[in-house]
Amino acid sequence: MPELPEAETIASQLRARLLGATITECRIGRADIVREGLATLPWYRGALLVSASRLGKSVVLEADRSGETRYLVFELGMTGLLFFTLLDPSYRKHTHLTLSLTGPVPALYYWNPRRFGRVYLLDGPGLARFATRRFGCDPLTVPWEDFRAVVARRRGRLKALLMQQQVIAGIGNIYANEILYRSRLHPYRVASRLQVRTVRRLYDAMRDVLSEAIADGGSSVRDFLAPDGTKGDYWKRHQVYNKAGLPCPAGCGRTIRRLTGERSSFYCPACQRE
């Protein structure tokens, strides 16, 4: 579930709390949780954490040791989270990687009960390959002209485009629904047929919704928690996601409907015409 705003919330807490700490030990619960670079695990012992960032829905920790830089990439998948402390002893069972640290936060735990996400231990070129293969443009930094070109090239449905990570990285089902509602666009509209001003509306709505969600610490739908255990409040501002049967918040008089395709889509039939 964690999407761009949740990944950004995690990255920003890691930046605030972990930078400058040294990794004193790395413990792996299950070897298969590391998809790439398991043999380099001992390198990280003694490395200094120098940055924390987000790539699409993944969180990246940058570590330096003896003039060399390597990365830990945490793919969050459906249920992956990072914690400073295990909130409950039962969490130990699904904690697949633990970094012991110097400094005020003694450890970082990668918890992932369903194991859809993985960890990658990469060097610089490895990270560049990883990013190129998996992630398209970032919705918060993509220039308008590039976004417009991406949409114009796509003949498929708009919602599928927003969620295709290799094209636009970081948006999942929740935020795709919210962005389309904010833009007053039906999920099944064909991307390449949109007028330029409509694409602009989509571009602005995408950035507004994601920025507002980051400001609220993301959406704690189901089980998202930030590393410090706090919940994200943006779910309280959801306009359509999981709101089938409720009145449209714009006051148009219609109720929110649910489309069942490859993923559930929630939309207002009056405000978002096909």
Binding site: D233, K236, A250, G251, C252
Partner: protein, 144 residues
């Protein structure tokens, strides 16, 4: 900042700290952030809790403040995100001072501030404030 009409806007915490020049009266309704009043502006802090039902007494106070300043100022109501509390105060103001029916006020504000999320049970709270004002003034307080 989002203009609701030419004299009224909602904004977030940054807008409250650095208001645009033409917004001359700032009402901060974020309980968690009492800010330094911007120089040369009318300013008040009436604290509402995020994501909770609005306190009718506080809502009444906020409406009164806006009413008092509407003649001589352009009004901006701010909270942390500019989506919930500020929006709710503006909806209440439109209902109780301008006589706009509740659903129309919601429509007007959400059209101008996409993503607006009024506080829980705002319609009921507005009704309570209307009764409060009617009792106090012994008269009319907006349309039902």
């Amino acid at each position: 900042m989002h203009l609701i009409n030419e004299n009224l806007a909602v904004g977030n915490a940054q807008d409250a700290e650095r208001p645009v020049r033409f917004m001359t009266a700032i009402l901060n309704v974020a309980a968690e952030s009492q800010i330094e009043p911007p120089a040369g502006r009318a300013y008040a802090w009436i604290p509402f809790k995020e994501f909770s039902e609005a306190d009718p007494t506080l809502l009444d106070e906020a409406i009164e403040w806006l009413e008092r300043h509407e003649k001589d100022h352009r009004l901006m109501v701010c909270c942390r995100a500019g989506m919930g509390r500020s929006v709710s105060v503006v909806i209440a103001y439109l209902c109780l001072i301008k006589g706009v029916p509740y659903q129309d006020a919601v429509k007007e504000v959400t059209a101008r501030r996409p993503g607006a999320t009024p506080l829980p049970n705002l319609e009921g709270t507005v009704r309570l404030v209307r009764e409060l004002r009617a009792t106090r003034d012994g008269g009319h307080a907006g349309t039902p």
